[in-house]
């Protein structure tokens, strides 16, 4: 299956692939970068595609490769483990699916090993990779500012995760200490490409599985809703002292008499564990109740990919009758009774600025 823009991360071999030679056999004159592939790194990186390293070499080889190619790699696996195991760790560390990886290696044995252990990975020789920029798999339909900065954001994420592991305290305390800020705001036409991109790319946190209200979440769909009187389109931004992630989520709200319905709720999995989805759901519940609605409804088809979103819905008190097994369902919550507090560090329309609570 070759869908446009399916590759999110290219995992590169080092020796005789990104380097013009073998690192450990070159003495004190380590090899230079392969000029053609260094150009491919920059070209694909500009489209928001990540790059990572998997090499049977000591870690210094990765540092050297980063230096001579001038590229900041989102992950590097150096060791003598199988390449397929390295790819699986890279995908898990970046929080992306193995089926979104491509793998480039000059060694036909390594290509065969990855191809057989992980058939969902796109496996290429360096010669093929040199032309990959022209292939649909490496051509995302939309490229936003968030996408172009994605490599840098993954590097920030590694620093944030290291600080989080070293932090003595709960995750909530760490998020506060890191100055986490979630900003919910009305979308403008400038946000439409990013909202469209999120609608295409999100899986774990996408209530509509790409098909809100039975249709595709195209740019035209968002644009049309921006001027619709009975709909709101909302963006969610995230930042902390480690970096600015930009727009990481969004939702569409349909106002009906007595009810708020959310035909699309989505968030990048990169923002998972940072209180974003919980903030959005708490805000929706509070605002719907204040507007006089009796019920909040979020249609969501349960599948194996969106377990994290279903957990967030359940945590926010939304339930769905799944009488007939898997399939479309509407998660709903009654809005009488105590409203949830807005978490600290959240700025949102209709809420007083400050620390929240």
């Amino acid at each position: 299956m070759t869908r446009a823009g399916t590759v999110k991360c290219v995992v590169w071999d080092i020796d005789n692939t990104l380097l013009d030679g073998v690192y450990l056999e070159s003495g004190d004159q380590p090899p230079a970068a392969d000029p053609v592939l260094a150009g491919v790194l920059a070209q694909l990186g500009g489209r928001g595609i990540l790059h990572a390293l998997a090499s049977k070499n000591p870690p210094e080889a990765a540092a050297h490769t980063a230096r001579v190619t001038g590229w900041q790699f989102a992950a590097a696996e150096c060791g003598w483990d199988s390449k397929s195991a390295a790819l699986a760790r890279i995908a898990a560390g970046l929080g992306i699916g193995i089926d979104t990886l491509a793998f480039v290696d000059d060694d036909p044995y390594e290509r065969a090993e990855v191809g057989s252990a992980l058939p969902q990975v796109l496996v290429l020789s360096p010669e093929e990779a040199a032309e990959a920029a022209g292939w649909p798999e490496f051509s995302p339909p939309v490229v936003t500012a968030e996408a172009r900065g994605r490599g840098q954001m993954y590097a920030q994420r590694q620093r944030r995760q290291a600080a989080g592991r070293a932090f003595a305290g709960t995750r909530e305390a760490f998020l506060r200490a890191a100055g986490t800020e979630v900003t919910i705001a009305a979308a403008t036409s400038a946000d439409v490409p990013r909202l469209h991109e999120l609608a295409l790319r999100t899986r774990q946190f996408n209530s509509a599985a790409g098909q809100p209200a039975g249709g595709e979440a195209t740019q035209e769909w968002f644009t049309q809703l921006l001027s619709a009187r009975d709909h709101d389109v909302v963006t969610v931004r995230l930042r902390d002292t480690f970096g600015d992630d930009g727009v990481v989520g969004g939702c569409v709200i349909a106002h009906e008499p007595g009810t708020w319905t959310v035909p699309l709720l989505m968030m990048s999995c990169r923002a998972m564990g940072r209180g974003v989805i919980d903030a959005v759901l708490a805000w929706l519940i509070r605002q719907a109740a204040r507007a006089g609605a009796g019920q909040l409804r979020i249609p969501c088809t349960a599948n194996t990919r969106n377990v994290p979103l279903r957990l967030a819905l359940a945590a926010a008190g939304l339930r769905a009758p799944h009488a007939g097994g898997p399939g479309p369902a509407v998660y709903q919550r009654d809005l009488s009774g105590t409203l949830p507090a807005l978490p600290a560090g959240v700025r949102a329309p209709g809420e007083p600025p400050g620390e929240g609570q």
Binding site: G169, E172, P308, L311, A314, R319, A329
Partner: protein, 104 residues
Amino acid sequence: MTAAGRPGCPGMPGSLQLAAVTDDLRAFLASATGRDELRHIPAGTELFGPAVGLDSLTGTLLLREIQRRYGVDVAAEDLNLDSLATLGTLAAFVASRSDPPGPP
């Protein structure tokens, strides 16, 4: 995937199994959240309530651990996740489904 001799291995009598699963879940929640006091919460504690505060990240880790340890895919068998109401309801759900089929 449940190693013999571990708490919660198949074949234990029902009530013993339930107590073992409950303790196992307490220990996992304490380590996943870094909050040691969760080792002592009563079975009636709401998982989404303030005491535990299960969110999508901790919840995903918890369900993955349950699947690894007991072979029970809670999210697939309970689409509405009603079993996550309290520690006790989740432990009962897992215990009732992880009973034999014994070793292959």
